[in-house]
Structure formats: C-alpha cells, structure tokens
C-alpha cells in the first residue's frame, strides 16, 4: 500500500508540473527519432542527452532520460518494419514479421501494432518495477560491504554474457574499464594512482565523457567509414491503425511478451534483443492464426516489441536497487543518476530522495503512454526520419558529443577524454571488441574495490568474510552458474562456428 501511495506521489509531482510532462513528451519523440534512424540506438541517444540532463532539475533530467530510453527502443521498430533494417538490436526480431507486413501493404498496421505492443510491454514492466524494486531494495538494506563486493564481482562476471562473439575480447574490454577506474584518488586511503603527475587526472576519469565517447563519437566514426545512408524510399500504405481482430488475437502474446521481457530484463547481462527473440520464439510455439509467422503475422510484431520495451523496465530493477547495470542502456541511466547526486542502491529508496525515485518510475509509465499516443499518430512521419542522410547526422552527433562532454564541468579535458575514448571505441567495434563491458568495468570496478577494502578493513584482513554470509553465498552461486552458462555457450558456439564461417562474413555487431 505504501508503494502505491509513493507512486501516486510521483504522479502528483509529474502532473503538477506541466513542463515535466512536456519534457517527457519531447524526450519520447527525440528517442523515437533517434531509434528510428537505422543503426543509431537508444543507448547512443541517452549518451548524447545525458550531459544536458545535468543542466536540468533532477526530476526533469531523469524523466527525460527515461523518455529517451523508452522512445528509443520503440522507435527501433520503424526501420525494421519499413526497411527490413533493425533500428536497434532490440528490433531485430520485429523485422521477421514487420517487413513482410509492409510488403503486403500493411505498414501502417505493423507500425501501429509495434507502438501499441511497446506501450503495453513498457507499462507492464513499469508496474512490476514499481512494485518489486522497493521490496528488493528493502531486502538489500541488510547488505554490507562483503555482499556488495560479491555483487560487484557478479556484475563483472556478466561481462562475459554481453561479450558477443569472443569471451576474451569481452573480458579485455572489461579490463580496460577496470584500469580506467583505478585512475585518480583511491576510494579508501586517498592514494593518488596512475595520475603520473597530471592534476587533471586527480579526480579520476569521469564516466560521462567515456560514455559519450564510446557510444557517440564511435558511432559517428563508424558512420563516416560506411558513409552509406538509406536510399530506399519507404511508403506507408493501407490502414494506419491496427484492427480490433488483430488486437484481440494478439492479447495473449502481448501479455506473455511483457512478462518474458520484464523477467529477462531483471537478469543482468541479458538485454533487449534476447528478450525480444525469446518472446518471439514463445509466440511461434503457439497456435499461429491465419497468417504463418515470418509472413507478416501481427503477433510476431507484438511478441517482439512488447518484450523489448518490457526489458527496459525490468533492467532498471537491479540498476536502481543494487547499483548493478545489466547492460549498456542502464549503465547510461546509472550515469544519469550519479550526475544528479543519486547513488543507486537500496538507500535510494529511503530518506528524502525516495520521492524522486517514484517520480522517475511515474515518468517511465507516462513515457510509455506517450509512445502509444505519439507513436501511433506520428507513424507516417517516420518515413521521412529513416531517410535522414549521414552527412546531416554525423555533424549533429559530433557536435552534441563535444558540447555535451564540455557542458558537464566546463572542462576542456573532458572533451579530450571523449575524443580519446571515441577513437578507442572505434577500433574496438570494428574488431569485435564489445564496448559495453568497458563501461560496466568502469562502473563496477570502483564499486568492487571500495567494498572489498572496506570489508577487509573491518575484519583486519580476514578473507572468510566473503564466504560466510548467506547473501554472499547466494551471489557466489550465481557467479558459478553464470560462468558455467557462459562456458557452455562458448563451447556450443565453437561447434557451430565452422559451419557458419563458410557462408557469413565477419560482421559489425558491437555491443
């Protein structure tokens, strides 16, 4: 009951400030526009907007980030449906039935179904997040330094899960993040480390310029390298709204997709694409209706889009309650919390800042309602968005990156950090080193070290503290399970690779 009254309080804050509602609407549209541009992702959109949210009130800034995140994932369905190109990896499953619908002249219905499903998935996950997050946070209030250390180690092991093709490359990216996290004053004793006499490095390397570099500048460089924009002129024909029959037949799929997505999102290291594909496979196992899957079945679109937006809400549960970002999007969101002085973790739900948390949850719910309204009404306009050429996008992205990294602290050193990490990220993504582990390493490394040393100080160097507390043992078990899963997946991949390598070239699939 307390949770619902807190959530109502969050809605009260939102609806008593019209500028907050306007900011969420603008953020949803901006997120959808970026998501609709093939190849540009919700994560990149968030990284670009992140420094500017710092210039806003915390509630406004974080509401904007939520809107961009939800809108970006939903917008990714547009090029998947219109062009057979997933705007974001989250929408890779959407094109399987979305594009066939376009070819049959049902693009309007497909887009409408995608937006409806995104909104349903987002709303279900938002409600689950609002109910479960405070409960988990209350439980996590009992955690102390040893538990948080093991939890951070668990977070670091999931680097393997987000590593893409090569485990080694994923771990190397994570190690780079750990090294970067060491730079500056050490968190316990105040020892200067790896600064080499440079005063600019005393405070360490900030997370935000690194995020902007590896997601923004890197993307711009990849676009410059490819320099091939979209040339196809998609058309939206047929009805704009999904039929009542299709809605009725997809209702079960929508609910299942939303629940699958929420559950998958709550597990660190999974991500929107996994949630969408799992939901799609689940939908395929059931009676398919009059149109087979893969040939333009609206249920395929519903399954994928409900799940990928539900993952967003689910993934915020470990981020808000434990400070463990499961993937790149929530890592950027965590950066947003940090720049507003909010320390993710169970303490976030107690004290004066708890009302802000519920305002953030309420803004995510409102953002999903706006996806439904704005996405459905503006579907026809997206035809123009997907055709914006690289020569327009690249200068805009670069300028936002440079201005954004400067705006945080008005320091030119942050601009240099952004450029350096942008170049590093470019080399990484073009050689299948995923960049997300770098960000996770940079966030979780200092968290692991701080709690490790705190626990060691309390126990005067007694290592058994990490293996004698019940919650720590649960996390160690999760670590072992994750490693076994990763090892088995890698072995399966090695078996499959020879067959695949004969017909598929190396591909850019940076994560």
């Amino acid at each position: 009951m307390e949770i619902f009254s807190s959530l109502l309080g969050g809605f009260g804050t939102l609806f008593s400030s019209p500028h907050l509602i306007a900011a969420i609407a603008g953020a949803v549209v901006a997120g959808m526009v970026v998501g609709a541009l093939p190849g540009l992702t919700a994560t990149m959109a968030m990284a670009l907007f992140l420094p500017f949210t710092f210039l806003m009130e915390p509630a406004t800034g974080l509401a904007v980030l939520m809107g961009v995140f939800a809108g970006g994932i939903a917008g990714g369905s547009v090029p998947a449906i219109l062009l057979n190109v997933p705007g974001t990896p989250a929408s890779a499953a959407t094109l399987l039935d979305g594009y066939p619908m376009t070819r049959k002249g049902r693009a309007g219905e497909a887009l409408s179904m995608a937006m409806f499903a995104s909104a349903v998935g987002g709303l279900v996950s938002a409600l689950l997040m609002s109910v479960l997050a405070p409960v988990i946070a209350r439980f996590a209030l009992n955690f102390q330094a040893p538990e948080f250390f093991v939890l951070a180690i668990y977070g670091l092991t999931i680097i393997a899960a987000v590593a893409g093709k090569s485990l080694l490359k994923g771990y190397i990216a994570g190690l780079i993040g750990l090294v970067v996290g060491i730079v500056g004053l050490d968190p316990i004793a105040g020892q200067l480390r790896l600064t080499f006499g440079s005063q600019a490095l005393y405070g360490g390397i900030s997370l935000i310029p690194v995020l902007i570099g590896v997601f923004g500048i890197t993307q711009a460089l990849v676009m410059v390298r490819e320099s091939s924009g979209v040339t196809e002129r998609p058309r939206i024909s047929g009805r704009t709204f999904v039929s009542a029959d299709d809605l009725r037949s997809s209702s079960g799929t929508l609910v299942r997709g939303s629940l699958i997505g929420s559950g998958i999102g709550a597990i660190p290291g999974t991500g929107t694409d996994i949630g969408a594909f799992l939901s799609y496979s689940e939908a395929r196992r059931r009676p398919k209706g009059r149109i087979p899957f893969g040939e333009g079945n609206p249920q395929g679109v519903a399954a994928s889009e409900s799940a990928n937006n539900a993952v967003v809400g689910g993934s915020m549960i470990p981020t808000f309650t434990l400070g463990i970002p499961g993937e790149a999007g929530t890592a950027v969101l965590l950066g947003g919390l940090l720049i507003h002085g909010l320390m993710p973790g169970p303490d976030l739900f107690t004290g004066s800042q708890s009302s802000l948390v519920y305002t953030i949850f309420a803004s995510f719910i409102v953002a999903n309602v706006m996806i439904l309204l704005l996405g459905t009404l503006a579907a026809r306009l997206f035809v123009h968005v997907v055709r914006v050429p690289n020569q327009v996008l690249v200068p805009v992205i670069l300028m936002f990156c440079m201005v954004g990294s400067y705006a945080i602290n008005n320091r030119i050193a942050d601009v240099y950090v952004t450029v350096v990490f942008g170049i590093l990220g470019y080399f990484m993504v073009t050689h299948e080193f995923p960049v997300s582990p770098l960000v996770l390493g940079l966030i979780l490394g200092p968290m692991a070290e701080t709690n490790f040393r705190r626990a060691m100080t309390i126990t005067h160097g007694d290592w058994t503290i990490f293996f004698t507390r019940p919650a720590s043992l649960v996390f160690w078990a999760l670590i072992v399970l994750s490693l076994v899963y990763v090892w088995r997946s890698a072995r399966q991949r090695r078996v499959q690779e020879p067959a695949e390598s004969e017909d598929s070239p190396e591909a850019v699939r940076p994560t």
Binding site: L95, L168, D273, V403, V508
Partner: protein, 181 residues
Amino acid sequence: MAGDSGRGTPGRPAAAVRVGAADGHTGGPRTVPLGMAVLLLGAAVAIAVDVRGYRDGAGGEPGPAAIPILVALLCAVAAIALVFQTLRSTALPGQSAPSVLPVRVIATVAALTAAGLLLQQIGFFVTFTGLAFAAGLLAGARRWWTSLGGAVVITWVVMIFFGRLFAVPLPAAPIDVFLGG
C-alpha cells in the same frame, strides 16, 4: 545489447554491415588486436611501476596497491592470450584485410582533435562550424556549400540553445558575442 553501432542499408541489416567496405587501407586484421595487446601490456607495466610508491594497508588489510596489482596481472595474462589468439587465427581464402583507418576516419579524428585544441583559442562558433563542415563533407556531402550552410546554421542553433537556454558557458570569441552566444 542496446549499445550497438553500425548503420545498415535496406536488405542489409545494421548488424550485418561488413567492416572494411570503405576506401583506403592502413593496417590489417591483426594490427588492432595486437595493438590492443600492447595497450594492455603497457597498462600492466604502468601499474607495476606506479604501485611501488603506494602506502601499505594500516592494520594488515590490503592497501591501495592490492586491486591495481591484480588488474595488472589480469591485463598481462589477457594480452598474452590475445596475442596467441590473434596469431593463431587465419584469414579465410579470398578475404581481404579489413580497412582499419580509411582516410575519411583519419580526417574526422584530425578534425575532432583540432576542434578540441582550438575551442578555447578561437571560440565556439568558428571551431564548431569548421568541425561540422568537415564532418559533413567526410560523411559524404556532395556539395560543399550545402555542407557549409548547414554547419553554420546547426552551430548557431546549438550555440543559442545551449548558451542561452541552458546557460552553458561555451568558450566565446568576439564573433560568438556578435552572434548572440
């Protein structure tokens, strides 16, 4: 993962856009992985040198050097593993070396670096108009004057938007002040 990159084309999903379709070749498929191994070894050496000056823990607990030493060891091991993996990997017959640094990318990096260096000397408007103009051309703009016009407009809008609306103190030269920044 949401942190994806790669702008695709119709019928060729972003996730399947092949690297190395651009012009100019500077380096082969092994250059960057080996370079990454060198970077890791360099980090390991730098940490090993730096930790010699750190204090010890006060009451028998690990001091500020403990985690950096562990990370340095992991870096060294990972670097060696990467070298082995890279040298063992063989390119498929007929596969050309992916282009690591097309001229356009080098020029974009140069433009970014120049912008970073010049920002405080010549102010926001001139620096970023130059950056946006160069980036537009490098990203494939066919007519230089449209790229220049676009760069001027975008820079001015960004300057007014962030300078006025968000009160970001952007580095200003006389022309910035003249244009309302």
